[in-house]
């Protein structure tokens, strides 16, 4: 289960994605993470992922739409830890802005090995009977446009080196339901199937695509949930707790690693066993 607060304006969220660079023949991996600062969240999945990739020798590019302070803060934290990070502004739903960012990265580093499509798109939390088509459509459009545009933009760069790792962040709500989450769950289901098509079509050029799908995660986006609800979820989870952003980030990093070389088109739930999807 993953529940989000409705994000009222674009100012409240920052989509994130990641890129990895690898030095040809080099021992040390250099990564490019175009990481997330969702909701200006100091504890979000994107930020945790960026931080972990940096710890593994990554150069981290942190993307933001409006919350420059949060992005800069995440980059500073990485640099203070001895890592490398830069920030880049851009709305991932815009083809022009995405292409501009990819061109900058390609121009500077000459390759791009990982994309982490973690963008948290805003959505309306409502029962279906009260939902306007425009509300429903907005989430679907945002979610898919970002994934579509990003995938088309990064794959040519990855294909040049016959190597790429794309991780899409899904949601358990694409497999089961929760009240008021129709827009989110349906959009994530579409994203999950999109990932399979990416795997099928880009496999021949050495690119893998997988979905890492969190259940309920402790972030600012779920902080509004009453404590007794969080306790109930934890009690129903075999591992006895709710995920921390780090749990999800570590799974993402696994799928971005070399160990996952022959894994593509798959869906991996990170929910402590609460729902065995």
């Amino acid at each position: 289960m993953r529940l989000h607060k409705v994000r009222r304006t674009q100012d409240h969220w920052g989509p994130g994605l990641g890129f990895q660079m690898r030095k040809p023949g080099g021992e040390r991996w250099r990564w490019h993470v175009y990481g997330a600062t969702r909701f200006g969240d100091r504890r979000g999945i994107g930020r945790a992922t960026a931080s972990l990739l940096a710890k593994q020798g990554a150069v981290v590019v942190i993307n933001f739409v409006a919350r420059q302070d949060a992005a800069e803060d995440a980059a500073r934290a990485i640099r203070a830890d001895g890592g490398q990070a830069v920030v880049m502004q851009g709305d991932v739903r815009s083809r022009e802005q995405v292409e501009d960012i990819i061109a900058k990265i390609d121009g500077r580093w000459g390759r791009l090995d990982i994309l982490i499509n973690n963008a948290g798109m805003p959505f309306v939390r409502k029962p279906l009977r009260d939902m306007a088509w425009a509300e429903f459509q907005q989430k679907l459009d945002d979610e898919m446009k970002a994934a579509f545009v990003l995938t088309q933009a990064v794959t040519p760069v990855m294909a040049r080196h016959h190597y790429g790792r794309i991780v899409y962040v899904g949601s358990g709500l694409s497999k089961h339901t929760a009240p008021d989450m129709a827009a989110h769950g349906t959009a994530k289901a579409a994203l999950t199937q999109f990932a399979r098509y990416v795997a099928a079509e880009y496999g021949p050029v050495g690119i893998t695509a997988n979905v890492v799908s969190p259940g309920m995660v402790h972030t600012e986006a779920t902080a509004f949930q009453p404590q007794n609800f969080l306790d109930r979820v934890a009690a129903m989870t075999p591992l006895g707790r709710i995920a921390e952003p780090d749990d999800v980030a570590r799974a993402i990093v696994m799928y971005a690693s070399r160990d996952s070389g022959f894994i593509t088109g798959t869906y991996i739930p990170v929910n402590g066993g609460s729902s065995m999807e």
């Binding site: 880009y202 070389g261 022959f262 894994i263 088109g265 798959t266 739930p269």
Partner: protein
């Protein structure tokens, strides 16, 4: 990063088991290489690991026999480092036959043995892991548990049952900090699949987005992911490792 942990790989002498044993050792785990009858193959894996500076030993046991599994667990408990990782890999033999020709005893033998091995191993290993509140179990499944191919019913059905068993293990042992996951290989280049005609291989390759058949190292890589720290909150999951073939 697996330093200070003991890993048991059943059927660790050959194929996927061998690659997994080597991979685990390369990350610092001490490895118990279980085998049924091929002593030489198991010793070879041990020698390879030791020559790389790792710690490994061979342990004979028929994982379908309770007394054997018990004896193996007792042996593992004599090691300095605690048992933390179990890879349920041992290939349980089965009859490849169309359903009309298959006898119940041929069919039930595979299903029973597959589950008996997993059951005994799980109970034995979890009893050791529970007090330390840490354990990683990985079961090797099969793509044929999800789709069908003519003649493979015994194998496919047994692996489907194994996969569901793993989910129950994840549910019931989760409170003790033990995770259980399944790695699902498609066609893998091993001795066990060597009988497949070249023409069939070629067809699989053509249908595989990544354009090749899995090597045992590919499966070992997925196992490594599920036994490391990064997978701490992943349990009851099944990961296909098939290069994206549908």
């Amino acid at each position: 990063m697996l330093n200070g942990q003991l890993a048991l790989v059943t059927g660790g002498g050959r194929g996927i088991g061998r690659a997994t044993a080597l991979a685990l050792a390369s990350r610092g785990a001490a490895v118990a290489v279980n085998y049924l009858s091929d002593h030489r193959a198991a010793l070879e894996v041990v020698t390879l690991i030791e020559s790389g500076g790792g710690r490994a030993f061979a342990v004979q046991a028929d994982v379908r026999r309770e007394a054997d599994v018990q004896r193996m667990m007792e042996r593992l408990c004599t090691e300095e480092v605690p048992l933390s990782i179990v890879v349920n890999n041992a290939n349980i033999p089965f009859v490849l036959k169309p359903l009309p020709d298959l006898t119940w005893s041929e069919f039930s033998q595979k299903v029973t043995w597959e589950l008996e091995a997993a059951f005994l191993l799980t109970q034995g290993a979890c009893a050791i892991m529970k007090p330390r509140h840490y354990g990683r179990l990985v079961y090797i499944g099969a793509g044929l548990a999800h789709h069908a191919a003519p003649g493979w019913s015994a194998h496919g059905v047994a692996k489907a049952a194994l996969e569901q068993f793993a989910k129950y293990v994840a549910t019931e042992y989760g409170p003790w900090g033990i995770t259980a996951n399944v790695v699902i290989p498609g066609l893998v280049q091993t001795d066990a699949s060597a009988f497949q005609p070249q023409e069939y291989r070629q067809r699989v390759i053509e249908q595989t987005p990544l354009g090749r058949i899995a090597r045992t190292e590919d499966i070992a890589g997925a196992v490594l992911m599920l036994v490391g720290e990064d997978s701490a909150f992943i349990s009851g999951a099944s990961i296909p490792v098939n290069g994206g073939i549908i």
